[in-house]
């Protein structure tokens, strides 16, 4: 298969740098892949995993650095060129044509032909043989949409295998598979590595799968390389520590007002009982009191975002009950939630938070205006005053209310989003990764603000991938793993990153 001598790297990426307008997504990352090995790339959201993959497969061009395939420098124009060179990718969302048959999906672009016409009988035979070889039995003539997402995922892998891939990239392929299906997939990966010498890049947030299948791991954090280890040399808690990292040194200590303790005896503001949503988060119990910061900690894909979205009404729960201020919440959606005083800053600022084309001022007043209805416009003077006040209070730079919000930096965008909700003076503020991808100064500003708001009596639910941040801010921490809430840490002594990591690791051994 490979023309490289045994043991020599198949893919070598050195000093890869990739900038997206103003944000450095990859900063001098090195990555090596040897023939026949299964290599995990680990990291949180925004660590640079998918950017690294996309640079390798030519979806993004890189700004500096070098990629060697079989010892030759390469730079692909796109996935198609990468495929031709033997690098295939299977994505988390199945990227196949659901409206075509299984056989067509397996062989699209490579169909056996008689003259110019597709030989459907030969295609069926070849597709069946291919699946049989991989231990999968499907009706290849049925449309792909007739099968579950899991089976579609296996078809996608079978397709990639069929294209004589030297390198197979599996980007979160198991996130929608059940236990048996995962077993088939992992068995398949082992056989490919052993029999065909295929090198595989495996991205998954299921640590047990990573430990079961991978030979080596490369860990990224905030676009930088943390290191490369043989799986046997890196324990699970060490790995989590590397992924979640520490930047405490650069941040000032935050003075927390002790407000939480005054109200601890009061009835909870939020009381979720058995709240859950099939396929996204198992039913959980959670309470939040006034003036309290509840942190949601867990790895990517643990269900922390899903928990926040259910509480905020962004997604509809299909199990359990939610009480707010002692009253049952019915018809929970973002609009009614805002009416009750529940504010939600979603994880993805650009696609779910801000309207990029609108100005800073317009984005700020959006929630307030929505709650007033379209007829009652906020008077210009009040609007100008409020916007100026919050630009000043949150230190939004540039302090130009009329600048389209898309031109602001990430940190300032996040502040605009926060200001939007502070304007309606919510009782509960739900923040999903408010500090992701923003500079250290803005990060400190936002942390200080959260402390201040909770000191003033606001309840805050705080989601972050950075454990240091969670432990510093939270009064209580709910720990999540594998789409379930596994523990709530309450004691002062438990507010440490080590304790959270231990809880996560222990949760996997249950």
């Amino acid at each position: 298969m490979s023309t490289a001598p045994p043991g020599a790297p198949l893919v070598t990426m050195t000093g890869i740098v990739k900038d997206f307008t103003g944000v450095r997504a990859l900063d001098g990352v090195d990555f090596t892949l040897r023939p026949g090995e299964i290599h995990a790339v680990m990291g949180e959201n925004g660590a640079g995993k998918s950017t690294l993959i996309k640079v390798l497969t030519g979806v993004h061009g890189h700004d500096a650095g070098e990629i060697l395939l079989d010892g030759r420098a390469v730079r692909f124009s796109g996935p198609k060129a990468a495929q031709a060179a033997g690098i295939s990718t299977v994505y988390q969302e199945v990227n196949l044509a659901e409206n075509l048959s299984v056989a067509e999906n397996l062989l699209a672009g490579r169909e056996p032909r008689l003259g110019p016409f597709i030989d459907f009988r030969a295609m069926r035979r070849r597709a069946e043989a291919l699946l049989d070889d991989l231990g999968i039995e499907l009706n290849v003539a049925a449309p792909l949409s007739a099968y579950s997402i899991a089976m579609q995922q296996l078809v996608a892998i079978a397709r990639a295998v069929n294209i004589d891939a030297k390198v197979l990239i599996l980007d979160e392929p198991t996130s929608s598979l059940d236990r048996d299906e995962v077993a088939v997939l992992l068995g398949l990966m082992r056989r490919l590595a052993a029999e065909k010498g295929t090198a595989m890049v495996f991205i998954s947030h299921f640590l047990d799968q990573v430990y079961e299948i991978c030979d080596r791991m490369t860990v990224l954090r905030n676009g930088r390389l943390v290191g490369e280890w043989a799986t046997a040399d890196l324990g699970e808690s060490e790995l989590i520590g590397h992924m979640l990292g520490r930047e405490a040194a650069t941040l000032e200590q935050i003075e927390r007002a002790a407000a939480a303790h005054h109200v601890a005896d009061e009835a909870p503001l939020v009381d979720a009982k058995g709240l859950g949503r099939k396929g996204s988060i198992a039913p959980f119990d959670l309470t939040v009191r006034r003036g309290e910061v509840v942190g949601l900690a867990g790895l990517l894909g643990s269900g922390r975002t899903e928990t926040a979205r259910l509480l905020a009404g962004a997604d509809r729960a299909d199990a359990g009950e939610l009480d707010f201020e002692g009253a049952r919440v019915g018809g929970h959606n973002p609009r009614t939630a805002a009416g009750r005083g529940i504010a939600f800053c979603p994880e993805n600022r650009k696609t779910e938070g801000l309207v990029g084309e609108l100005t800073v001022a317009e984005n700020m007043i959006l929630a307030m205006q929505a709650s007033r209805g379209w007829v009652r416009s906020i008077p210009a003077a009040q609007r100008t005053r409020l916007v100026a006040e919050f630009i000043d209070k949150l230190g939004i730079r540039p302090a130009d209310p009329d600048m389209p919000v898309k031109h602001l930096s990430g940190g300032n965008q996040q502040k605009v989003l926060l200001a939007r909700w502070m304007l309606i003076e919510p009782k509960l503020l739900i923040l999903d990764e408010p500090t992701r991808g923003i500079d250290v100064g803005a990060k400190a500003d936002i942390q200080r603000l959260v402390a201040e708001l909770s000191g003033g009596g606001m309840a805050v639910v705080f989601v972050s991938a950075e454990l240091d941040e969670v432990t510093r801010l939270s009064d209580r921490i709910a720990v999540l793993r594998d789409r379930a809430l596994i523990a709530t840490l309450e004691a002062e002594a438990d507010m440490t990153t080590e304790r959270i990591v231990d809880t996560i690791v222990a949760g996997g051994e249950r």
Partner: protein
């Protein structure tokens, strides 16, 4: 604090208008160019109106008068496009509005003011219902706007013919109805007054209330708007309703001007002209920011273009070709891929050069 406040105030003074003005510069330049060409050929009479029979007269006034129905429709279309939508049925609704009004009035009572008022009200009500239907299909059933409004684009003219019984109903010149198309208030032709009133009403409706902001938010980022608690469905239905209402009103003006309603040819292709005017005016088809004044300029450009073609000595058939060139130029100018493509070999190039490039 104080410094920020003054800065905000300063921005509110000149800054608010500037992004709007920036978008209007190009359409305005094109319009001025067209006017200059016409003035060069036919003299200043083109621009300067005279007064005849108690109403303004002159080439440019006539352009405005004839463009009034298109402007009314294009303004409604602007709001629909701002929500990432499109309304293909406006031409058919135009025909329906005209048909209802003329059919109702035509008869022994056609000189009675009451009859005319009831007829106009009935036509507008039906147009509004049709618009609300379109909006419901889009907002409640989740059908793509282009598909949802295609249904009435096809069926609508059939409905209009059904109303008129396949005839072309006439309204006598003595009926007060024709004043809507040919009359004048303080020497200003009524269609211009109506169109200006609609423009003013829209400006107030969208900029004095928060409707404009919420529309731009829904069109700019539907998911972020949902999470911010905006009631997007109701707003979407309202916008299609208003667009239907505008189409009906345009049909009434058109019918009043002709004194008859042709279900087959009345308002033919007006949906395409309206979309064209909106796009010329700087509102992008992908939704978001909208420019009522830009749309107005776009409408006047289309109207002036038709006259210019005659004035420069080309046959009137050229207007289709000219429109094709305008559509292509605007579409390519709005395409980032095209701009990247043309900028590639030259690095720096003025937009004017790109316009010429696109027009070729």
């Amino acid at each position: 604090m104080n410094t920020v406040l003054t800065r905000v105030r300063a921005a509110a003074g000149d800054g608010w208008a500037s992004p709007y003005l920036k978008r209007l510069i190009w359409p305005l330049a094109v319009l001025v160019l067209l006017i200059v060409v016409n003035v060069a050929i036919t003299g200043f009479d083109f621009l300067v109106p005279g007064v005849q029979d108690g109403r303004l007269n002159g080439a440019f006034v006539n352009i405005l008068r004839r463009s009034a129905p298109l402007l009314v429709i294009a303004l409604g279309m602007t709001l629909v496009i701002a929500t990432k939508g499109i309304d293909l049925s406006v031409g058919a609704v135009y025909a329906i509005g005209a048909a209802i009004a003329c059919q109702w009035i035509s008869g022994p009572n056609e000189n009675a003011l009451g009859t005319v008022l009831i007829a106009v009200a009935a036509a507008l009500a039906v147009a509004a219902v049709i618009g609300a239907w379109n909006g419901t299909m889009v907002a409640a059933f989740g059908i793509q706007p282009i598909v949802a409004t295609l249904i009435l684009m096809i069926a609508g003219r059939g409905i209009a013919q059904l109303i008129t019984g396949g005839q072309i109903p006439d309204v006598n010149d003595t009926s007060p109805f024709v004043e809507l198309g040919r009359g004048a208030i303080l020497t200003i032709p009524v269609p211009i007054v109506i169109a200006a009133a609609v423009l003013a009403a829209f400006a107030v409706l969208t900029r004095r209330t928060a409707l404009g902001l919420l529309l731009e938010s829904v069109g700019g980022n539907p998911e972020a708007s949902r999470l911010a608690g905006i009631r997007a469905k109701g707003i979407t239905i309202l916008v299609y309703l208003v667009c239907g209402l505008c189409a009906g009103l345009a049909g009434i003006i058109g019918a009043a001007n002709l004194g008859s309603a042709d279900a087959n040819n009345g308002g033919l292709w007006i949906e395409l002209d309206a979309i064209l005017a909106v796009v010329i005016g700087g509102t992008a088809l992908i939704g978001g920011r909208f420019f009522l004044l830009g749309t107005t300029i776009g409408v006047v450009i289309i109207g002036t273009l038709e006259v210019t073609i005659i004035n420069v000595g080309l046959s009137s058939q050229w207007q289709f070709t000219a429109k094709a060139i305008v559509v292509l130029a605007v579409a390519l100018l709005q395409s980032p891929e095209f701009r990247a493509f043309t900028l590639q070999p030259f690095r720096r190039r003025t937009p004017a050069a790109a316009v010429q490039e696109a027009a070729k």
